[in-house]
Symmetry: C2
Subunit: 161 residues, 2 copies
DNA sequence: CCGCTATAGTTGCGGCTTCAACCAACTGCC
DNA sequence: GGCAGTTGGTTGAAGCCGCAACTATAGCGG
């Protein structure tokens, strides 16, 4: 036990192998997410964050969700959701309505136009996720990656926040 | 063979399990990268992209790299590198000098102040990568993730365009 | 019922990124 | 040697995001 003691300020640096792996993940995921976003913008005039919000709304009863609920589902700040929903509203894809049960609350509701746009964009998006990501992974790898980041997210939401 | 035929415009949707895994990865990596960025800004007044550039320069001979080389190493657009290096230059962490062997070229060079800042920030950054990511993963998982995204990146740089 | 604190959401500003347009220098080819 | 196309890099505008400050409502204890 004695030799493994570390003070809080010591840093466990990465060895060469870990460096390579970390940078591969960083570079690969960066390139991947950028590409998804570009495709969506070019073909459907939607950003990834905008698309994600439309997806969550489309799955909710009445196509409606509280702002805070949207925020927590897509893992974005409340402020960001406000900004993004405002843009979507300006584009006519989403509507805001005040929440009956809570005077502070605001509901975001998908419009028909929003649903139409989402249906189109989904082809591009899912196609990209498959081509760029899943088609380069085995089933097992994909499973491992999903499970791993589930833990990462749980950890950050738990003690992290 | 007959029943598996697909036209180019058909979309292979994700089943429920794939959806869950994909969203876990998306949400987890989003939360993770956001946290890394926040930590760096709060404690060292550096963004992740800025930090990444400092790292690459610090590893180059003469602490110097061509702009395009920086861009390709960190997987960012040239324009983005121009902007980010300009900010770093304004902060005195990097200097620009014109490239002797190619009249179009511009070298970015780390300054002593830049190296000092990088040394401080590295503790925060690596600590975050370990705590938020690696400590939640087994060795095998980390290896798999690194290798997988190496392929993803290669694929995007290759046939991508 | 009052006041205190916590929560929901918005706002404005400043910083970061993208895109398209642009200039300049290199390359190859006739 | 000069023109055509390519590559390296920058620029400015517009969009996107984070942060801190703010308003308003909810909930709770006295």
């Amino acid at each position: 036990m004695t030799s493994t003691t570390q003070t809080a300020t010591d840093t466990r640096w990465l060895d060469d192998r870990q460096q390579r792996l970390w940078r591969s993940f960083l570079g690969g995921s960066t390139a991947f997410f950028d590409q998804l976003d570009r495709d969506l913008r070019r073909e459907h005039d939607l950003s990834m964050p905008e698309y994600e919000i439309l997806v969550r709304l489309s799955e909710a009863p009445e196509w409606t969700l509280r702002m805070a609920e949207v925020a927590s589902q897509v893992a974005h700040s409340r402020s960001r959701i406000t900004h993004t929903v405002s843009r979507l509203e300006r584009a006519g894809l989403v509507e805001r309505e005040s929440c009956l049960s809570d005077g502070r609350g605001v509901n975001a509701k998908l419009t028909d136009a929003g649903m139409d746009r989402l249906r189109d964009a989904a082809h591009t998006h899912v196609g990209g996720v498959r081509r760029y990501l899943m088609d380069n992974l085995t089933e097992e790898e994909f499973e491992i990656i999903g499970q791993a980041f589930e833990r990462v997210r749980g950890d950050l939401n738990g003690q992290g926040f």
